[in-house]
Amino acid sequence: MKITGLIVTILVGGLLIYAAADFPAWSDPNSPASTYLSPHFIEKTMEETSVPNIVTAVLADYRSFDTMFETTVIFSAGVAVFILLRTFRRKEPEARHYRHVLTGVTMRIKEGKLPPSDDFERIDTLWTPPDLIIKTVCRLLIPFIQIFGLYVIAHGHHSPGGGFQGGVILGASIIVLAISHNLRTVVKRMSEKLDAVLCAVGVLIYAGTGALCLLLGLNFMDYSALASVLFVDPIMARSHGILIVEIGVGIAVMCTMVWIYSNVSSRGRYEQGL
């Protein structure tokens, strides 16, 4: 089997090298990829969409339809992880462990009883190491990470960035919270239901914007139809349309990351997590 694999690998590698002989030279300005469509995008993007960042314009306007489905791919991954991992019917353990937040004392409480005061947090292991430094540093960092994430989403028209990148940064900030504290802390701020619904809402903002263009009488995803709703000229409407869908992408990516993380890290049980 190993030898078969080796032979196949060599054959495929050989084929790829053989084909590379007919490629245009490295960074050749006359290669088909640089001469066929690129000039149109470089010359016309600003006047057709009023977006200075050509990459964003191609991604979220000229080929916006692909990007919508890329967002859907991420959403599908979230749903697939959820449906495979999440377990609902589970026997509650007879005793629960609670930790006193200030002193770190752990106590075991029988089922049906509550801890003596609100200063206790529930844990699933017998002992968790003290993590004051990690918690404090993360607390300080998270707001800045989130502001940066919002900036990346909002500034995608002008600089590198956009919904995917910003959404990942925002999602990472929440995952940092889950790692430094625990999953319950995150779920307290953003419930599982809210997270799952926002995943769908993010993609819905994207696809809904496209559908709105269709209802306003133009083709699907033709943002210039939004001009009458946003009270701007059709070219500017394209720019605003891109911003709207980027926000949708940001929400979808952020929530899906958190959703996948929560299910994977707690094996679908939504407990303490990592």
Binding site: L15, L16, Y18, A19, A20, A21, D22, F23, P24, S31, P32, A33, S34, T35, Y36, L37, S38, H40, F41, D61, Y62, R63, S64, F65, D66, F69, E70, T72, V73, F75, S76, A77, V79, A80, F82, I83, L84, R86, F88, R89, K193, A196, V197, C199, A200, V201, V203, L204, A207, G208, G210, A211, L214, L218, N219, F220, M221, D222, Y223, S224
Partner: protein, 499 residues
């Protein structure tokens, strides 16, 4: 609204899948009606679109209002109009038939299940309707990802089988993407029609040759063409009924469509059949696929569902072989067989779904006495089976007829013999199942010969039987109207250059 049909076919299921996902958290009972409405709209638009194509010819829909090749465009011609109709109708019928089993098997996860189901259909419809090589890849990802999730929800061994499929499927999709990348390097375009226009001057290019080989191997992996089929039987056998009766009829057939689209539109028949002298070799590969699929099915003596999955492997061989015969009749047979095989596979998998629903298993031991216990389900099974064998007037006969005529016309007698061999094997396979279901008494009553009283009838619910009978009726109707389908639709789907 009718000029927006191409967009509606994909967009309505997509939006509904998202709404279902939200509705699943609010009230689970909302999910099915939304899913049903979405697929009904998709089916209605597909049929409407097919009729418009028949009237007006190719329909181009520019997404975002951008002219191709700058933006993405949908091209709907006779070929994908037909396949779109089949995909949406099969998905709709299966949705109705599977409602009960979905709600029974996944009481807490009906919402996500319907979400994945509708997203998968969105992906398949998108693959078929698009005219952009990269857009096709994105939709392929959606159809694959949701498929892995759905298939892994089955029995104990399902996750492992699905993981295996995930590896193979990902490699297949990557190969396709790599091929598209190669084409982009040499042409600078992603639009299928545009690529086809640029390619003639590049027929001798090694990069185009490599792109062709890589794309084909990727697509073959995804359709489980014989040596690359190893992922399919287990993945489909252990899957939940609702998922396997959606995926088994559609995924392999849609991938065949992609292959035919690559041959006819992207690389053009001139390049595929004349510039490259590979068609003969590929038809021989198809011969091996048909024969091996038949033998593997014959060797499977435990599980009805697994036996059917090996028949799928053989049927993939039919269509690949038919498409690569390089003549009009063979191509007609391959396209007609996409339609017929999707319907036949749906029919027999729905029957398996009914059996699993009632008997909780599809092993050959579970089948004993089923003709008495579930006479209506088994009646539909007989229709599906004789269509798979290829008995007129069911549709299976006619596509096989075209394939065999194509083989004779091309002088490829090996393929003809393989088709006949596989039909004979199907006779053996299905009559073996009939024998078990008809003559052998229920396993519980074994050894109680004298005080044996007949098992009471315990038929599947009407919501599962009605779609099954609709499929059975369509099998016969498509068979009776084969002439019209070929003359009105398929004839125009094949370029005039191909004789």
């Amino acid at each position: 609204m009718s000029h927006n049909y191409p967009a509606l076919i994909v967009v309505v299921p997509l939006l509904s899948a998202l709404v279902i996902s939200v509705a699943g958290w609010v009230n689970k009972r909302l999910c099915f009606p939304i899913a049903f409405a979405a697929l009904a709209v998709a089916a209605y638009s597909s049929v409407g679109l097919l009729f418009r194509v028949l009237d007006e010819g190719v329909i181009v829909y520019k997404l975002g209002g951008w002219d191709p090749p700058m933006g993405i465009a949908y091209y709907v011609d006779h070929l994908n109009g037909l396949v779109l109709t089949v995909v949406s109708v099969v998905a709709l019928l299966n949705l109705i038939a599977s409602k009960k089993s979905i709600e029974e098997e996944f009481p807490e996860k009906t919402g996500p299940f319907y979400t994945l189901y509708i997203l998968m259909v969105t992906g398949l419809l998108g693959i078929v309707v698009t005219g952009d090589a990269f857009n096709l890849y994105v939709l392929l990802e959606i159809a694959a990802l949701t498929g892995y999730g759905l298939l892994a929800m089955g029995e104990e061994r399902a996750p492992l089988a699905s993981l295996n499929y995930l590896y193979m499927g990902t490699i297949g999709a990557c190969f396709y993407l790599l091929g598209v990348g190669y084409l982009y390097i040499v042409t600078g375009s992603l639009n299928m029609v545009d690529i086809a226009g640029i390619l003639p001057s590049l027929y001798q290019s090694k990069a185009v040759l490599a792109a062709f080989i890589i794309c084909m191997v990727g697509v073959w992996l995804k359709m489980a063409f014989f040596p690359l089929h190893a992922w399919l039987p287990n993945a489909y056998t252990y899957a939940p009924s609702a998922a396997s009766s959606l995926i088994a009829p559609l995924v392999t057939k849609v991938m065949i469509y992609v292959m035919i689209r690559l041959i006819l539109t992207v690389f053009t028949p001139e390049f595929s059949f004349n510039v490259l002298a590979v068609s003969d070799a590929i038809v021989w590969l198809a011969v091996i696929a048909v024969v091996m699929g038949a033998i593997l099915a014959l060797a499977e003596r435990n599980n009805l569902k697994k036996m059917l999955t090996y028949i799928i492997v053989a049927e993939v061989g039919y269509m690949v072989g038919g498409a690569w015969l390089g003549n009009r009749t063979g191509m007609t047979g391959a396209i007609l067989h996409i339609v017929n095989d999707a319907l036949m596979t749906l029919c027999v998998f729905l029957v398996v779904g009914n059996i699993v629903y009632k008997v909780k298993g599809a092993g050959f031991d579970d089948l004993k006495g089923l003709f008495r216990k579930m006479p209506f389900t088994m009646g539909a099974f007989v229709v599906g089976a004789i269509s798979m064998i290829g008995v007129p007037p069911t549709c299976g006969f006619f596509s096989k007829w075209y394939l065999i005529s194509g083989a004779i016309q091309a002088g490829h007698y090996g393929f003809m013999v393989a088709l006949l061999f596989s039909s004979l094997v199907n006779v053996v396979l299905f009559f073996r199942v009939f024998e078990i279901c008809y003559y052998e008494p229920f396993s519980d009553h074994h050894g109680h010969g004298h005080d044996h009283h007949p098992e009471p009838m315990d038929e599947a619910p009407l919501s599962m039987l009605v779609p099954l009978y609709v499929v059975g009726a369509i099998l016969v109707l498509v068979g009776l109207y084969t002439g019209d389908i070929v003359d009105q639709i398929i004839q125009f789907a094949i370029p005039k250059g191909l004789v």
